[in-house]
Every structure is written in structure tokens, then in C-alpha cells.
């Protein structure tokens, strides 16, 4: 890997230098819309534009050191670029890559929506104050509602999930606004400083509720299964990785405002409850996408516990690494799993019966992903869970950790069941459709990354340090 390009030589010194990734995405978005003007544009061209935009954004992130004075410096206004933001942005954009690579709609709108959503996440990451945070959040969510309406899996009732998602999102954002108002009423500014007095606390709590809604913690989780079940698998993969990572980042920003506030204290409990709820429900599901939805709910719970542990330890930079590592590993696992559903076209659990005999390679990749999701040691999933539990144990959150560990054990129940169906049963039908090149390549990438992250972690540790430094 070539060393970082010295910021001075590359980044033009005008203040927006740090916003290059977001700008690239915006340019990509505009290029997409412009391409739409021309009458007969091919899906491949749109795809190339989208993927290039994302890759260039990631490349820029990796190689522009964080600009000095990133902490809400003068003239930068609402923009603040710390290493945490830059690291998580990598997650957002890499999470969108599979969906961008898989889109083959005839018009350019879905690609534009995806880029718009990524732009929103970029803004969220670069937000210097609560207002910018809100704008990023909305800019991310609105395209998502439309994407859910547009990219539907076969047999899903039209628009039902999109309507549910829209109204829930709208109520949640209005809750956030109310919290913002209270925060402003108490502190007089939109900055990330904690607002004094009960009104400020209430404001923070409401904003926290909005964040927990976006992650789908237990009381606010009901929309997630319906949306993931009715959206196309690639979109579900995008939402379960990028949007969930953005929501986690959003929660981290809020928790960092007041590390020992009521919100941070209830986070571990909400997380453990979500993990257990997700695991228990997933055991019962017959539909594969709904099962993976509840499994992503369970993983979201563990992420919330991780944020809770981070907050309990005073939100210092070093202990943010496990959350990031979990997000990174989960990104590969979840995207890979949903991609397999896209590739295999399996809907219910019986569709998987004997799949290994029909197409051994995707089955093997899916098995590796499932083992990683379940957290079996040689895979990355185990290492991620271990670090998160480690931090939680250090922070003294014993019962939430026990709940999350129990959820991991229950998780075995449904992950192994899928492997069992694939490998131990006889195939009911003999058709094995051909697999498109792009899908298989991404599936291979996700599976190999998820499996090897556990075995060769020191390869990634240099990458982690550089990012989190």
C-alpha cells in the first residue's frame, strides 16, 4: 500500500479540502442525473458511474490525512472531520458498493438515490453540529424510503413497507427535531456540548430515541423486518450495513455529547434486549430475508451494547476500535449473506434444502458467512464479538454481556439450521440457475473478508491504527 500523499501537496488549501469525498459523491450523483437526460443509457454505464464515485470517495478518504484544525475550526462552519468520522465513512461507502455493483435497473434513478443516501451519510459523518447531523440524517433517510418503494423482492406487497418506513422515519425525525428544540432552548446553541438542566436532558433523550429508532433497537424495531423482507436482497444488504453503520455513528455522536447521561446508561440494556429479541424471533422465521432481518437486529443490539460500553468508559478514541471492527466485519458478513439470497434466489428455508449439492461454491461461501455471523472462532465474527464483549466486561456491564452471549448461542440455532438444510438434506428440485459474474465476485470478496478477518487480524491492525490515529 503506498504511503499517504502529504496533505499539503494534494489538498487544495481552501477550507472545504476535507470534504472531497462528499464532493466526489455529489459529482457522481449529478453525473448520474445528467446521464439520465440522454435517452438510451445502458444500466452498465450507470453502474460504472456509481461504483467509480464510491471507489474514488473511499480512495480519497484513505489518502487524505485528517486536515489540521478539524475540530470545528473557524470558517469550517458546521463541518468537523475527526478520525472517527473518516473511519466510519469508509464503512458507509464500502457498504454501498455491492448494491451499486448489482443494480441493473433500466433507468438511473435508483443509482442516484443510492449516491444521494451515501452523500447524506457523508454529511452525517462530517457534521460539526446537531443541525448538520439532522440534515445528514434526513438526506440519508429520504432516498432510502424511495429505494424501498422502488427495489422490491418478488411477491412483496407493493409500497406497504415503504409507507411504514416513511411514516416511522418521519415520526422519528420529528422526535429528533423536538429534542433539538429542547437542546437549543436549554443551551442556546446547536453544538455538541451537553445542554444543562432537565430540558437539555430531555432533548438528548429524544434525540437518542431517534437514533435508537434508526438502529432499530427493541421498542423501535418493528419496521425493520417488514422493510428488509419486502426490499430486494441487495438493497436489504445496503440498509443493514451502511445505514445501520450511519445510525451507530449517529448514536456515538449523541453519546459522546454526555458520556454519563441517562441515554448512555440505558444503551447496554437496550442493546442486550435487542440482541435477545432478534435471536428469539429469528429462530421462528421461515422466510430467509425475514430471518436475516432479525439476525441483523441481533447484531445491531450487540453494536448498541458496544456503544454503551464505549460511553461508560468516557468515549476515548482507543476504545472506539472494537465498535469499528465489529462494524467492518458485520459489513462483509451481512452484505455477503444478502448477496447469497440475491444469487440463489432462495425465499423460504425449504428452498435451501440440498443446495450444496446443486451449487457447491455459493453454498460453501454462504456457510462461511453464516459461521462468521454466528461467531465461530476461526472466522472474523468471533473476533469482533470477542472484542466487543471484552470492552463491555472491562466497563463492568456483566448482565448485558451475558444477555448478548446468550443471544450469540441462540444465534447458533438458526445459522446452523441453514447450514444443515443446505448440506444435510436432499435437494427437492434440480434447477441450478447460472450465477452472474458481478454477484459471484462480490460474494467471494465478502465471504473471504469475513472468514479471514479472524485468522489474519494483524494484517488489518495496521490499517485500523492508521485510520483511527
Amino acid at each position: 500500500m503506498i504511503g499517504p500523499i502529504p496533505a499539503a501537496e494534494f489538498a487544495v488549501s481552501f477550507p472545504a479540502a476535507s470534504l472531497w469525498p462528499q464532493l466526489t459523491l455529489a459529482a457522481g450523483l449529478l453525473a448520474c442525473l445528467a446521464a439520465g437526460m440522454a435517452r438510451d443509457i445502458s444500466a452498465a454505464a450507470v453502474r460504472v458511474v456509481g461504483v467509480c464515485a464510491l471507489i474514488v470517495a473511499v480512495w480519497m478518504l484513505m489518502f487524505t490525512a485528517s486536515v489540521p484544525g478539524a475540530g470545528g475550526g473557524p470558517g469550517l462552519g458546521p463541518v468537523r472531520l475527526d478520525s472517527l468520522g473518516r473511519a466510519w465513512q469508509v464503512l458507509f461507502y464500502v457498504g454501498a458498493l455491492p448494491l451499486a455493483a448489482m443494480l441493473d435497473e433500466d433507468d438511473e434513478v435508483p443509482m442516484a438515490l443510492v449516491l444521494g443516501s451515501c452523500l447524506g451519510m457523508g454529511l452525517l459523518a462530517a457534521a460539526g453540529d446537531l443541525l448538520m447531523l439532522f440534515i445528514g440524517l434526513e438526506c440519508m433517510s429520504l432516498p432510502a424510503y424511495l429505494l424501498v418503494a422502488r427495489l422490491r423482492s418478488q411477491g412483496a406487497p407493493p409500497y406497504e413497507a415503504a409507507v411504514k418506513y416513511f411514516f416511522a422515519g418521519a415520526v422519528a425525525s420529528s422526535l429528533f427535531l423536538l429534542g433539538l428544540a429542547f437542546h437549543y432552548a436549554a443551551s442556546g446553541s446547536f453544538g455538541f456540548a451537553a445542554a444543562p438542566g432537565p430540558v437539555g436532558q430531555a432533548g438528548l433523550a429524544l434525540m437518542g430515541a431517534a437514533a435508537l429508532f434508526k438502529i432499530a433497537a427493541v421498542p423501535f424495531h418493528w419496521w425493520l423486518p417488514d422493510v428488509y423482507e419486502s426490499s430486494s436482497p441487495a438493497l436489504a444488504g445496503f440498509m443493514s450495513t451502511s445505514i445501520k453503520a450511519a445510525a451507530v455513528f449517529f448514536l456515538m455522536r449523541l453519546a459522546a455529547m454526555a458520556p454519563d447521561s441517562g441515554l448512555s446508561r440505558c444503551l447496554p440494556w437496550a442493546g442486550a434486549a435487542t440482541a435477545l429479541y432478534g435471536a428469539l424471533l429469528a429462530l421462528r422465521q421461515q422466510g430467509l430475508q425475514r430471518l436475516l432481518a432479525y439476525s441483523s437486529l441481533s447484531h445491531a443490539g450487540i453494536l448498541v451494547v458496544a456503544v454503551g460500553a464505549w460511553a461508560a468508559q468516557g468515549c476515548d478514541g482507543a476504545s472506539a476500535a472494537p465498535i469499528f471492527f465489529y462494524g467492518l466485519v458485520y459489513l462483509f458478513m451481512s452484505n455477503g449473506a444478502f448477496l447469497f439470497l440475491e444469487v440463489s434466489g432462495a425465499g423460504k428455508r425449504p428452498d435451501l434444502d440440498g443446495y450444496a449439492k446443486l451449487c457447491p461454491v455459493p453454498a460453501a461461501l454462504f456457510a462461511a458467512l453464516l459461521l462468521s455471523l454466528a461467531g465461530i472462532p476461526p472466522t472474523g465474527g468471533f473476533l469482533a464479538k470477542l472484542f466487543v464483549f471484552w470492552e463491555a466486561v472491562k466497563a463492568g456491564l456483566f448482565f448485558p454481556v451475558a444477555g448478548a452471549a446468550l443471544a450469540a448461542l441462540l444465534g447458533l440455532g438458526y445459522y446452523l439450521a441453514l447450514i444443515r438444510n443446505m448440506y444435510f438434506d436432499e435437494p427437492k428440485w434440480s434447477k441450478a440457475e447460472p450465477h452472474t459474474g458481478a454477484a459471484m465476485v462480490t460474494l467471494w470478496a465478502c465471504a473471504v473478508a469475513a472468514a479471514t478477518l479472524g485468522v489474519v487480524p494483524w494484517l488489518f491492525s495496521r490499517f485500523l491504527e492508521r485510520l483511527l490515529s
Partner: protein, 484 residues
């Protein structure tokens, strides 16, 4: 690098087998397993020249949280490495005839790689990763190529063992964090960790004990064993009983005993009692079984009770006997399961009532099965007796009462194995029985069984070589005169 090669080679072999077609991967598997066996035997050379308690050690790169990839080899580890390599070769040859897909052969090589990792690792984290990695290949071996009840057995095996190793993980985490709290240094190295005293120490001890106990299996945690053994294919049962049950006891010897010396001495009556229960309970359950494989599975529960009895006795004879019994049980039960596999291969049945007067039809099978039964019953002159006698002699020095209760096991072992032997080989065959389909052993099977049976006789009459190998391990665990 020489120790890493020990587990890396089979892993590469596993991937290679995946690449080859059905027949080619069978030959690849044989080649790799023989090479690994040769390599492990060659290792004895450098092992002799090594000094200090560890014959061979290899320090790898350190990583975060004090985890460092250290490997080491002492007497017990070397003997278990030999057993693993030898049994893998035996399994590949034993399942040569039946048409298995390439996944079968690669699973065995992956299993061997993971087992080598467990026996070699000096770092608790690396030990735990390999400890869990063993589950995956065995899960597929039982699940895909097992007999009719395989789906349930594979799931039960995985969930049960994973549940046990969650306890182990929590115990290890607590141990390492306690060490960091008191001594300020992050380390997962087995040698460097010290055990907490008082209640915390007891809780950590209990967690690790349960984690290893599931694998042995100790009494309350054993119900996964009969299903897994019955449904696994013949070679799978050989590896399961031959080596995987030893991981638990190896864990005791490598992790628990060095770290909790005074606690093991205080809890000795309880653990010895549990081992005796293991022996008697396993034998009584074996008496009731009507399926040959379940019977041998429960007999493994009884035999490993002797190992635990020996190892926790805290006397040189007991510990050496316990370690030796690990190897003996591997050979004896491996041979028994292989022969039941041959029977199942020919008749697809393994009930006691399904066969009859095989003396006439398969005299060689009767001869070898009788030999293996006598070894498992602990007939002096064969390997079973040496391990059991030394374990009981060791325990007699520590707790004579427990030794006497344990010794009852030798009567019970006859009570369940000989009637079964007679029902299958001597008794008259009922009309619906499958003994008509049973043909005698062919040259390949006879050669395998001759090697195993002569090994049993050799260890039975001249265990000196192996006991010499185990000497350093025993010396570290039981420094002369340490037993209060």
C-alpha cells in the same frame, strides 16, 4: 516454523482436496496424511535435542491484548500429535473403498489441522481458536456422511460443545483480565498466567472445568456423545473417539493443573468422585444399549473416567497413567469403531440383535474384535490395563477409597462388553439378521487391524518408551515430593 508446518500442512491438504475431483482428492488425502505422519515422526529427532520442559518451542508474532502466536511441544503433546496423525492415516485407508465426495477427505484434513493446533498452542487465545475450529469439520463429517439420524446428532453435537466452550471463553477472559488487574500486563501465555485465589479463583476454575468437561465428557455433560458417535461415519467415530475426546483431558493437563495446583488438591475428592461416577454411570448405561456404536460410546465415557482419575491423583504414577490411557483409549476405541464401521459398510446395520454366529462367516473379524474388546476391558498384557492400573495405583496413593470404587469399573466393563461381543459374534443368528451379508475382512482391513492390535500388545508389554516420552510432562505437573 517447523511447528507451524505441523498444522499448516494438513490445512493446505484440505484445500488441495477440495480442488481435486472425487478420486483424485482421495489420493491427495492419503498423500497428505502420510506426509504429515512422517513429519510428526521425524519431529521426534529435533524434539530429543531440545532442552528445558518444552522439547520444541516456536515464538511467533505478538498481537493486541497480549495475544501472541506461540507454539510448543512437550512429551504429551508429541504423543497426541502422533496419535492424531496415525489415526488420520488409518481413517483415510479405512474409508478407502466407499465412494466419498472430495468434501469428506478435506474435512478430515481440516480436522487434523485443527487438532494439531490444539495440541501445539502455548497461547490460550490460539488454543481457544483451534479448540473451536475442531467443531466445524466434525459437524460436517457427522452431518453429511453420517447415518440416518445424522442431522439431529450434528446439531446437538455442535450446540452442546459450543455451549461448553462459552464457559471456557468466559473463564479465560476472566483469568486474563484478573492477571491484567493484579500484574498490569496483558498476556494470554499459558506459562505466564497465574491463578486468582479465593472465590474468583474457584469461579474461573469451574468455568474452565465445565468447558473442558463437556469435551471429555464428564458425567452430567455427556449426552451429546452417544448421538454423535452413533450417527458419525466409521472414520468419523474413530477420529471423534480416538482424538477429540482427548482434547478435554489435554486441556486439564495443559491449563488447569499447572495454574491451580492447590485448588486441584483441595477439590480432589470431588473430582475423583465425579470420575468414579463417570466410570460406573458409563458402564451401567453401556449395559443397557442395544446399538453397538452407542455401547462403545458409553464405554469411552467409562474409560476416560480412568484418565481423569489418574491425572487428578497428583502422583507421578497416576498422571503418567492418565496420559498413557489417553493414547490407549485412542487405539482401542479407534479399532473398535473401525470394525463396527466395516460391519456397517457391509450390512448397513449395527444393532446387537442384527448379527449372529459371525465366527463361521468372518473369523478374522471375530479375532480382531475379540482382541480389541479384551484390550478395552483392560486385560493385562494389552494396552488398556497399563493405563488403568497406573491411574488406579496413582489414585490409591492419594485416595484409596476412590481407587477401590474406580476399580469396580473393571468388572462392569466386562459385564457390558462381553455379552455384546457374544451376541454379535458367537450367538446364533436370528432369522431377520444381516449376518448373511457380512463377508470376512480383505487384505487392506486386515493390515490396518494387525498394526493396531500389535501396537496394543506392544504398549501393553513395553510401555517404557511412551512413559519415557511423558516423563517431562509428569515431572512438571508433579515435582517429586510435592504431593502433601
Amino acid at each position: 516454523m517447523i511447528l507451524t508446518a505441523l498444522w499448516l500442512l494438513p490445512a493446505i491438504g484440505g484445500f488441495a482436496c477440495l480442488a481435486g475431483r472425487g478420486r483424485a482428492s482421495r489420493w491427495l488425502a492419503l498423500a497428505f496424511s502420510v506426509v504429515v505422519f512422517g513429519y510428526s515422526v521425524w519431529l521426534a529427532g529435533p524434539y530429543e535435542t531440545g532442552q528445558g520442559p518444552w522439547g520444541l518451542s516456536e515464538a511467533g508474532s505478538a498481537w493486541i491484548f497480549g495475544i501472541s502466536y506461540n507454539l510448543a511441544l512437550d512429551g504429551l503433546a508429541l504423543s497426541l500429535v502422533w496419535l492424531t496423525a496415525f489415526l488420520t492415516v488409518v481413517c483415510v485407508i479405512a474409508s478407502w473403498r466407499s465412494e466419498f465426495s472430495r468434501g469428506y477427505w478435506s474435512s478430515f484434513l481440516f480436522l487434523e489441522a485443527a487438532l494439531m493446533g490444539v495440541f501445539l498452542s502455548r497461547d490460550l487465545f490460539v488454543f481457544y481458536v483451534f479448540w473451536e475450529a475442531v467443531l466445524i469439520p466434525m459437524f460436517f463429517i457427522i452431518g453429511i456422511w453420517g447415518s440416518d439420524g445424522r442431522r439431529h446428532a450434528a446439531m446437538k453435537f455442535f450446540l452442546f460443545t459450543f455451549f461448553g466452550s462459552l464457559f471456557l471463553l468466559v473463564g479465560l477472559l476472566a483469568l486474563v483480565s484478573w492477571n491484567h488487574a493484579t500484574r498490569g500486563v496483558w498476556t494470554w501465555d499459558m506459562g505466564a498466567l497465574a491463578a486468582p485465589g479465593g472465590l474468583a479463583g474457584l469461579l474461573v476454575f469451574a468455568g474452565i472445568f465445565v468447558g473442558f468437561g463437556v469435551k471429555i465428557p464428564l458425567f452430567p455433560l455427556h449426552t451429546w456423545l452417544p448421538d454423535a458417535h452413533t450417527e458419525a461415519p466409521a472414520a468419523g467415530s474413530v477420529m471423534l473417539a480416538g482424538v477429540m475426546l482427548k482434547m478435554g483431558v489435554f486441556g486439564f493437563v495443559r491449563v488447569l493443573l499447572p495454574m491451580f495446583p492447590e485448588l486441584t488438591w483441595k477439590l480432589l475428592p470431588w473430582i475423583a468422585g465425579l470420575a468414579c461416577v463417570n466410570i460406573i454411570y458409563g458402564s451401567l448405561c453401556a449395559m443397557w444399549q442395544s446399538d453397538l456404536k452407542r455401547l462403545i460410546a458409553y464405554s469411552s465415557v467409562a474409560h476416560l473416567g480412568f484418565c481423569v482419575l489418574g491425572i487428578f491423583s497428583g502422583t507421578p504414577a497416576g498422571v503418567a497413567g492418565g496420559c498413557l490411557q489417553l493414547l490407549n483409549h485412542g487405539l482401542t476405541t479407534g479399532a473398535l469403531f473401525m470394525m463396527v464401521g466395516f460391519l456397517y459398510e457391509r450390512s448397513h446395520r449395527r444393532g446387537l440383535a442384527d448379527f449372529g454366529d459371525l465366527v463361521g462367516r468372518a473369523p478374522w473379524l471375530t479375532f480382531f474384535f475379540g482382541w480389541a474388546v479384551m484390550a478395552s476391558v483392560g486385560l493385562p498384557g494389552l494396552n488398556g490395563f497399563v493405563g488403568e492400573f497406573m491411574s488406579l495405583a496413582g489414585m490409591a496413593e492419594a485416595l484409596p477409597v476412590m481407587a477401590c470404587i474406580g476399580a469396580v469399573g473393571i468388572v462392569l466393563s466386562v459385564a457390558y462388553s462381553l455379552p455384546a461381543y457374544q451376541a454379535v459374534f458367537w450367538a446364533a443368528s436370528a432369522e431377520g439378521s444381516a449376518s448373511a451379508k457380512v463377508s470376512d475382512l480383505d487384505l487392506r482391513e486386515k493390515a490396518l487391524l494387525w498394526v493396531l492390535c500389535l501396537a496394543m500388545l506392544y504398549i501393553g508389554l513395553a510401555p517404557g518408551a511412551l512413559l519415557g516420552l511423558l516423563e517431562p510432562t509428569v515431572a512438571t505437573l508433579v515435582p517429586p515430593g510435592c504431593m502433601p
